[in-house]
Symmetry: C2
């Protein structure tokens, strides 16, 4: 099956290393030289394996969503709306300050604003954030149907509210907030939940 010279590196390991660079420097701030150095491969190897910078970022982003960002989808499986919110907030506090990773959230700081060349990446990240918000809204709609949230509450508004708090925590983490500080933000948000 495998014809020709086998590659000397692991695509998954290289992708994880690229993810670290994009996470720390953003899409625009991460140069190909930064990436190849961190990944331990040369530029032609990178292009052969991953296409180009944009494709590499998208693959790293997929890996982020399934890995360090996986707590979000996990939280949606909790049995009650309150547990969903509690888990997503506290797990975010952990993930956003995991010392093994750059602080903050790739989906927020990967390309919040950018030059023309990165516009499609910015759109992609906007779409990912919108999808997370929609998933949360859908979960809250279920909770409403189960009388797990007060009548008259608006699932879309609640989802946007929680998304905003998560994104605010991400900016705080990028600004140097530590784990305890993020946990106390989660405490306060949860104390007022649901905002009737």
């Amino acid at each position: 099956m495998a014809m020709g010279r086998p590659r000397e590196f692991s695509c998954e390991k290289a992708l994880d290393l690229a993810l670290q660079v994009f996470w720390r420097k953003g899409y625009e701030g991460a140069s190909m030289a930064d990436l190849t150095e961190a990944m331990g491969i040369t530029k032609p190897s990178l292009y052969a394996a991953f296409g180009n910078k944009e494709e590499l970022f998208r693959k790293a982003l997929d890996r982020y969503v399934d890995g360090p960002g996986g707590y979000f989808q996990e939280a949606l499986k909790k049995p009650t709306a309150r547990e969903v919110v509690s888990h997503v907030l506290y797990e975010a506090a952990e993930a956003l300050t995991n010392p093994d990773n750059p602080p903050g959230c790739l989906a927020v700081q990967g390309a919040l604003s950018c030059g023309d060349a990165a516009e499609t990446i910015k759109q992609e990240l906007m779409a990912r954030r919108a999808k997370g918000e929609t998933d949360l809204r859908t979960r809250f709609e279920r909770a409403l149907a189960e009388n797990d949230l007060p009548d008259g509450a608006d699932a879309a508004d609640l989802a946007r509210y929680i998304s905003a708090i998560l994104q605010g925590m991400a900016v705080q983490a990028a600004g140097g907030a530590d784990r305890g500080q993020l946990r106390r933000i989660a405490d306060m948000a949860l104390r007022g939940w649901p905002p009737v």
Copy 2:
């Protein structure tokens, strides 16, 4: 007094135009070509008047803080903690979606993460966000002394919480949220205030 040929453009107008570009594209994403084109001046004029890209950004940032971002300091003057929070949240909802300006907040999206060359700008923006948070904390400490907030509340935690919500609203605005949606986030945050 004024010797030599007078300059043919207004520094303040040019700075406002540069601010728009930095606001929309971020520090890294805004090229000198973008800036000179928007400002209607040539590069040597820009360098003579503003130093270099980094100094230009700092001057635009000062102008942002005193202009479109001025609602923050205004809110601190309100007589009660609740009015401070109410005003800062609702004025943020307006400012972040002002159709005359790019959506979002320059202090958040100007350089949330970046390459090495923009590291000092990132630090500057972190310091500005931290200063806003400290100003809010100081205001809450006054409120505590005036029995305007519940005993035992932590002014620093409250300031960090409100800052996170504001920053989350900024990310929402950058993602396309409209004014009504941001107002409803403010509604919900205010409903649980203070988070005793």
